[in-house]
């Protein structure tokens, strides 16, 4: 006897749709509610942002205010102040170029070929130097522009990269000190790390900007910007140190013992055996920490810096554009979103890639 097995006919497109979204009455209800919410939001948003919006500056603020939708003319009129702050108008190309340098530097450090200690240090060193020279000027015939005139997106990026540049090595030092075999060193470092972690970042920025000048000798006070950057780097390093330490705990003890048995010195053990493996373990959490600290640069607005959020407040806060606050905030939110979302997507991609290696 021959058995003929007939496969059930492949479901049609309509059947497929029905199975996916309308399998049970409850599913159907859920689908319909979700669809209704989505349609409503998408329609309202499109209507506001595109169909009834004003894009040109020709009509001036009055024509814009009369429109039912968004008034993007405010961005067309004020984008320079949002991106570059109070930087001299003629020199703003330098500010733009400096921002590009930072973006290129960040993109380069996302490529695995640059993931050795020396190369990453080279990329970041070169990128930051380039940024600093472009912004500050005073060399190669560039006009000198002091830090107090920096602002907008350029200042946000500067605070971010210097926080990472100071914070990252500091974090590795703190992590190594915390896992030291000498009890008093590890305990004291632990108290410092936990103390910083238990405080909100705003209070640390406030302390460094406003309180610290009292507690420092005159010659050490320095510029407020650099004090705030140091405070934010300290905060970053306290969190990052715990991430690095977690990565170190993931390295099997046998690795270090084997290195010791080979007669490697402490620094060789740390630099060639422990840290490379620990950093690999800590990579996803590290990227997450970068994402968080990029968002947290916006807090410096509270101690009175003219970064992108403050310059946005200024862009709509004065004169004829007072009504266009939603558009300005949407624009700034979009800029943050582009940076943060791409970085966090990259982090998720790395996590998946590394999970493949471990399967």
């Amino acid at each position: 006897m021959e058995m003929v097995v007939v496969a059930p006919p492949a479901p049609g497109r309509l059947e497929n749709l029905k199975r996916r979204f309308f399998a049970t009455p409850l599913q159907a209800l859920l689908s319909l509610i979700s669809l209704a919410i989505m349609a409503f939001i998408v329609w309202k948003l499109l209507d506001w942002a595109v169909f009834s919006a004003v894009f040109t500056t020709s009509g001036g603020p009055e024509a814009c205010q009369a429109a039912a939708g968004a008034c993007w003319s405010v961005i067309a009129a004020r984008w320079r102040i949002i991106l570059f702050g109070l930087y001299p108008f003629e020199e703003q190309w330098r500010s733009a170029l400096a921002c590009v340098a930072v973006v290129v530097m960040t993109a380069l450090s996302c490529i695995p070929a640059f993931w050795t200690g020396r190369r990453i240090a080279l990329v970041w060193g070169a990128g930051t130097t380039l940024y600093y020279l472009l912004m500050k000027g005073g060399v190669l015939g560039l006009l000198y522009v002091g830090e107090e005139a920096w602002g907008g997106l350029a200042l946000t990026l500067f605070i971010f990269i210097t926080t990472c540049l100071i914070g990252f090595p500091l974090a590795i030092c703190l992590a190594l000190l915390r896992r030291s075999e000498l009890p008093w060193i590890s305990r004291t470092t632990g108290i410092v790390i936990d103390g910083v972690r238990s405080l909100p970042l705003i209070s640390i920025l406030f302390t460094f900007a406003i309180v610290l000048p009292f507690a420092l000798p005159q010659w050490l006070v320095g510029d407020k910007l650099y004090r705030v950057i140091f405070g934010s780097a300290l905060f970053f390093s306290a969190y990052q140190a715990e991430i690095v330490r977690g990565g170190m705990q993931g390295v099997p003890a046998g690795q270090e013992e084997a290195a010791m048995a080979l007669g490697m010195s402490y620094w060789q053990r740390i630099g060639r055996i422990l840290l490379p493996q620990a950093m690999r373990n800590a990579l996803p959490a590290t990227i997450n920490q970068f994402v968080i600290s990029f968002k947290e640069t916006s807090l410096v607005v509270i101690v009175g810096f003219f970064e992108i959020l403050a310059s946005g407040n200024a862009a709509y806060g004065t004169g004829e554009w007072r009504f266009a606050y939603v558009e300005v905030y949407a624009f700034i939110a979009f800029i943050y979103f582009v940076f943060v979302f791409s970085l966090s997507r990259y982090g998720a991609f790395l996590e998946r890639r590394m999970a493949v290696g471990e399967r």
Binding site: F21, L30, I202, F214, K295, Y329, A333, Y336, F337, V340
Partner: protein, 387 residues
């Protein structure tokens, strides 16, 4: 001497003394310099200023406050404001996060997409930007004369006006506790009673408990009622402003909304992770035992997911409490803003910073302690089956 340095024990001891000593010296030097600088400005250090009256006012307080009150009273107000905003934000964020997280774990792809879009958008925009945004939206609402009105509530640029019962503060707090008990008691009874108990009998006990608690609340409200006033105080237009009712200031609502939305997107991810951590076999086993889908969810999936979520959730809550310091951006007098104002007005910099650190340490530690207790209480004990 050189041979002494070669001795590992001596070297280690020396290193530790050097490290701890230099850190301590750094801190001490800072304090000494600060005290000298402050003394030059005529500020005497010490905590005596706590008993002086402040001379300035706070814009939000759950306790009575005037400019004549001493500094310690203002610090207390600040801590209570922080805890109040923190707990309101925490509850709202948990609500938002649970809904979005459930949408993300549901089997419906459209709901998943909706949840994912929400998380992707609101997680990637800084909290302070969202605070500014909502604050701008609320302060640009129409003036009291042209306000939107619904159900006796007014939505104006000066805040949200809602009807409020005319009762004393203590009676109101007690009534709220009674209402919470009315919700919590039936849940507690449901959790502790055995499954073998007849369903109807348990429901009866639960209803009786809820009714008792609600009656208690009503009695407390009636007893604590202020004399010669209607029970509910409705806001009403008087001249250019609204009078009566309870005003929720724009600063508070902007912060609460922003924390709820931003925190909700993080909590949604935690909720999703918690449900993902529950093994498929658990659900399949429960279904094959003949439990209904609802009971599978409440008796198997939810309890197991909660256990996986709780430690991460605790961290998130601590973070949310710290996020209340954004209050200073819009002028909400939370604990940190009180400290900043104190430094501005009295110049008692070191003492105020010390109080700030102690305050946040206390908040963090007590939150951690509470969550450790909960964690221990709900942890799976051994592998015995429980009724």
């Amino acid at each position: 001497m050189v041979s002494l340095l070669r001795n590992q024990k001596v070297r280690n001891a020396l290193l530790q003394v050097l490290y701890v000593g230099s850190l301590a010296a750094l801190v001490l030097a800072g304090i000494v310099i600060a005290r000298r600088n402050l003394a030059e400005q005529g500020i005497t250090s010490g905590f005596d200023f706590l008993y002086k009256s402040t001379g300035w006012d706070v814009n939000f307080s759950l306790l009575p406050a005037t400019a004549n009150d001493p500094y310690w009273w203002f610090f207390l107000i600040g801590i209570i404001n922080t805890l109040f905003l923190g707990s309101v934000g925490l509850v709202l964020a948990t609500l938002v996060g649970t809904i979005v997280g459930l949408a993300r774990t549901s089997s419906n792809e459209l709901a998943q997409l909706l949840g994912r879009t929400y998380v992707d958008i609101f997680r990637n925009i800084p909290l302070i930007l969202q605070v500014f945004f909502w604050y701008a939206i609320i302060t640009h609402l129409p003036t009291p004369r042209a306000a939107h009105e619904a159900l006796g509530m007014f939505l104006t640029s000066r805040g949200l006006y809602v009807p409020f019962p005319n009762v004393g503060g203590i009676a109101f707090a007690a009534a709220i506790l009674a209402v919470i008990a009315a919700i919590a008691l039936p849940i507690w009874i449901g959790r502790t009673s055995r499954l073998s108990q007849p369903f109807g009998e348990r429901l009866g006990i639960q209803l009786a408990a809820a009714a008792t608690a609600l009656t208690t609340a009503a009695v407390i409200l009636a007893l604590g009622r202020l004399p010669d006033l209607p029970l509910l105080d409705f806001p009403a237009l008087q001249g250019l402003n609204l009078k009566g009712g309870l005003r929720i200031p724009p600063e508070f609502s902007a912060l609460a909304i922003a924390i709820a939305i931003y925190g909700g997107s993080y909590i949604a991810e935690i909720v999703r992770g918690g449900f993902k951590a529950v093994g498929k076999g658990q659900m399949e086993a429960a279904l094959s035992l003949g439990l209904s889908p609802w009971r599978v969810f409440t008796l198997v999936r939810l309890p197991l997911a909660l256990r996986a979520m709780l430690p991460i959730l605790a961290n998130q809550y601590v973070w949310l409490m710290k996020a209340t310091t954004m209050g200073i951006a819009v002028g909400f007098t939370d604990f940190f803003m009180i400290v900043a104002l104190t430094i501005n007005h009295s110049g008692q910099t070191l003492e105020a910073i010390g109080i700030l650190m102690a305050g946040f340490l206390a908040i963090n530690l007590s939150l951690a302690a509470v969550f450790n207790r909960i964690n221990k209480a709900i942890a799976l004990k051994g592998n015995q089956l429980r009724g």
